[in-house]
């Protein structure tokens, strides 16, 4: 415990937390930006779904850990490798959640939109996405959880900052298990905090209606 306080005082802890959060932020928002439009397109247009779904379902079960050697080969030992791994691993739950959300949009809303002559991008943006939003947000929550899970694993290899590095470095530098456990607790607390932030998304209008009874 004393070690943890010492670390905190030296600003080392803040430095590691910030490094991890930065990687998660970049990788995660990159995944959001890719997964949601792709999921909407796949959910709405059956040919796109038929073409891409097998690829996604084949890549999805491969553990992010298995990608580490390739990530290092492609992106080197800087920030790009863990960001790539985070993007990759949080992409799948979000794309699958978005597709499922679009598939479960109630037919009466699609018919009404058709009846009122709402088509194209307006249909997708203002009818399909809000109707699917609750499941999209669920996918985003799972995605962020996975991202936080993977950043730690990614930082244990080929990088020298972040909470994952702190854990592996604490053990290697003289079996400082107090620091190892402290880092684990911090990871848990931050993960909890991130989920609380995500739950705020359930308050937006296009999600809230699903949960009101």
């Amino acid at each position: 415990m004393l070690g943890t306080i010492a670390l905190a005082k030296e600003g080392v802890l803040v430095h590691h937390i910030a490094a991890s959060l930065m990687r998660v932020a970049v990788g995660y928002f990159g995944a959001v930006a890719l997964a949601i439009p792709l999921g909407v397109a796949m959910g709405w247009y059956p040919p796109i779904y038929r073409a891409l779904n097998p690829v996604i379902q084949m890549l999805r079960p491969i553990s992010p850990i298995a990608w580490i050697p390739l990530a290092i080969l492609w992106f080197g030992v800087g920030n790009a490798s863990p960001i790539f791994l985070i993007l990759l691993s949080s992409f799948f739950p979000m794309v699958v959640g978005t597709i499922a959300g679009v598939h479960s949009v109630e037919r009466q809303y699609i018919r009404a939109a058709e009846n009122f002559g709402i088509t194209g991008m307006k249909l997708l943006r203002d009818v399909i996405v809000p109707a699917a939003m609750a499941q999209i947000v669920t996918g985003m929550r799972i995605g962020l959880g996975v991202a936080w899970l993977v950043v730690v694993a990614a930082e244990m290899v080929a990088i020298n900052s972040g909470l994952g590095f702190l854990i592996i470095d604490s053990r290697n530098a003289g079996n400082r298990y107090d620091l190892v456990v402290a880092a684990m607790v911090i990871i848990g607390v931050i993960g909890f905090g991130l989920d609380l932030v995500m739950r705020r998304l359930e308050l937006i209008d296009s999600v809230r209606w699903r949960y009101v009874r």
């Binding site: 058709e114 009846n115 709402i118 809000p130 209008d205 296009s206 809230r208 209606w209």
Partner: protein
Amino acid sequence: MSADIKASDVRKSYQLEDGGTLSVIEGLSLNVAQHEFVALVGPSGCGKSTLLDLLAGFQKPDSGSIMFLGQPVGRPSPRGILITQKGSVFPWISAWRNLTFVLNGMPEEARISRAQHYLELVGLQDFASAFPYQLSGGMLQRLELARALVVKPEVLYMDEPFGSLDALARLRMRQELLRIRREEPQTTVLVTHDVDEAIALADRIFVLSQRPMRIMRIVEVGIDHPRSMADPRAVALKSSILHDLGAIGE
């Protein structure tokens, strides 16, 4: 009066999974005049909803023709709005936004005054910013009606629109609908299995048979509004229609 809707010899069947065919409509013809209120009354499962789908363009007939304002029915369009029991008001936007959202490509000012007018017409002016889940069943159905009317359709198709309401709210909706019609007459095709509702609202009632659907009888109601269900003519009409439908014996 010009015919707004003219269906001739319409046939529709569905392919079943076991390879058979289910004939839903066999050679049905009907006309609906401008500003007329027509009710289609039939037993459940007789294909009433399919017929409305065909009229509104959501499905294509196998054969026969459906003309709408002198042209064959194509895709669904705002010229004929379909309202169903399920309700399709968008739950993620406010009552107000539901009305303005469907007014595509109109100048902002016209949009606002149009939406305001129809929200007032159905008596929801105080609920403009409410979300659909905050409204009662009856209010929701009034909002559905306002959203349909706001685009000024030529025809309103109603498929058991008040089916999910309680008895009291249903009676109130009838009065609402009649009041709105007095202010803005609207060609309307109502599908219902509620004979009272048909008699209370319609100019003409089409009594439909079991599947495959055909028209058994066309009844001119011919009673002045406001109609009372206790009116001997209404009582006689009701029992004769129920008799046609096999709901009461000799």
